[in-house]
């Protein structure tokens, strides 16, 4: 017989509201008592019905085509009907022959694989050196931009105009990353310099957001990827006019970026009001 406490736990479990410790203890109890498992099943079924109480909405017609196009049919291995017993001796002989051939092929393949790996390593070294050179080139460009901004900073009117913000890493995300943002409201462009930003997968990009109270959502400032050493210097220009910068944020998004931030924010910096 179920108690009120069990009913309460079963309901909260079905709604996914138990905390980790409660869930673990209750799962252990369910495993030992079949009547509790039945109670939970009943609550799970009741909770599933709640999905249907959402106001009816129609997905756009193109969504179906998008899903069907993205659903790739996995290749299936052909199934061959083979009367095994009749051919058993031949199979054994063929097996020996195949094993011998396989061992020979393996020997040759390992040798060529070794050579291929050496070639690959050399190519990777070349690619790495080339990437380093490109990065150095970009850093030079960024340094020139910083110098340029610096020379302009010497003029008092520019000094008052430029907004500078140090972006802080957010706990649990990119503790070691450092970033500085400089924003020129007149030119509607900015400069960002990062150090120690974690390397991300090829399917992801970092995305720049400019927080302006004039807009309900942060304004997209473009995407960037990070080099192996976590250093990046880049200029950016938001895709909407910025009236007042309150903060800069960097989020981790899918490749190419998103119109509205979806992923976790890894760096955030407020612009101090002057």
């Amino acid at each position: 017989m179920s108690t009120e406490l069990h009913q309460e736990l079963a309901g909260l479990r079905a709604l996914g509201l138990l905390d980790e410790a409660e869930r673990r203890d209750f799962e252990a109890e369910i495993a030992a008592k079949p009547e509790l498992a039945a109670l939970c099943h009943m609550f799970d079924n009741t909770v599933t019905h709640l999905a249907l109480t959402a106001p009816a909405q129609t997905p756009p017609p193109e969504l179906k085509a998008r899903i069907l196009n993205a659903a790739v049919v996995p290749p299936k291995a052909p199934v061959i009907d083979f009367p095994f017993l009749r051919f058993a001796p031949w199979l054994a002989a063929a097996g020996f022959a195949l094993t011998a051939v396989w061992l020979t092929v393996q020997n040759i393949s390992l040798r060529s694989e070794n050579a291929a790996q050496q070639t690959e390593r050399r190519l990777a070294e070349v690619a790495y050196r080339s990437a380093q050179a490109q990065l150095a080139e970009r850093t030079l460009v960024a340094e020139r931009m910083v110098n340029d901004l610096g020379s302009r900073l010497r003029r008092s009117e520019d000094l008052a105009r430029l907004k500078v913000s140090a972006l802080a890493s957010l706990a649990g995300n990119t503790r070691e990353a450092q970033a500085i943002a400089v924003w020129d409201p007149e030119q509607q462009s900015g400069l960002l310099t990062f150090d120690g930003l974690p390397v991300i997968s090829d399917e992801q990009d970092y995305q720049i957001w400019v927080v302006d109270p004039a807009y309900p959502n942060p304004v997209n400032g473009g995407v960037f990827h990070v080099a192996a050493d976590g250093r990046v210097s880049l200029s950016f220009r938001p895709d909407q006019p910025i009236k007042q910068v309150a903060a800069f944020a960097i989020s981790l998004e899918k490749k190419g970026g998103v119109p509205k931030a979806e992923g976790p924010i890894v760096l955030l910096g407020k612009i101090p009001s002057i």
């Binding site: 709640l50 179906k64 979806e262």
Partner: protein, 196 residues
């Protein structure tokens, strides 16, 4: 003797299980049929939780592709295809809501004037007739609950909040919220069919 709508539910469940089995063999037509049957309610659930059309479409796409890729792991003893899909949608929507909450807190902290985008979404008719009828019955059952129980259950299911957050949001002690959820679910159980 079984009620006609219970038989219909079982037949519908068996048909969807057959579609999933066909999808496991790479049958895209089965995916297309399952989409026709389930996309309406699943999209509605995503919209109710996320309040954003683009995010809801992404989520529905992710879940149908997950069904397609993991169709061979479907186990009929663990519930209907709709239950499976709705659970996947809800869990993934809760992940997005929690990420969004963290992002909103951070940005609101940076710019206190910023307000989160308001929930949108006009009602529209969609989904199979079977699910629409079913939905009507469930809504009616939910409406028959006392308002405090209905509110606690809706918060618990759609908001993605924790027990404590629900209690804080509704300005009630945690024990009261738990009791309302328990009593509300017990009443719902009595008025809903055995299996969806």
């Amino acid at each position: 003797m079984r009620a006609p709508n219970e038989t219909s539910s079982e037949e519908r469940g068996a048909e969807q299980a057959r579609l999933i089995a066909a999808m496991a063999k790479g049958d895209k037509a089965a995916l297309s049929t399952l989409y026709d049957q389930l996309s309406g309610p699943l999209y509605s659930l995503a919209m109710r939780m996320l309040g954003d059309a683009a995010e809801s479409q992404d989520l529905v796409q992710d879940i149908f592709l997950q069904l397609w890729q993991t169709a061979d792991t479907y186990d009929t003893s663990r519930g209907s295809v709709f239950s499976w899909s709705a659970t996947l949608i809800r869990n993934r929507a809760i992940d997005r809501i929690r990420m969004r909450q963290r992002r909103s807190e951070l940005l609101a902290n940076a710019a206190p004037d910023l307000q989160p985008a308001s929930l949108t979404g006009a009602a529209d008719s969609a989904g199979s007739l079977w699910l629409r009828e079913k939905a009507e019955a469930v809504r009616q059952a939910l409406d028959e609950l006392p308002p405090d129980q209905q509110q606690a259950i809706e918060f618990a299911y759609f908001s993605g909040l924790t027990q404590q957050e629900i209690a804080t949001r509704l300005n009630e002690p945690l024990g009261t919220i738990k009791a309302r959820i328990r009593r509300g679910l017990l009443k719902l159980k009595e008025s809903l069919p055995h299996r969806l």
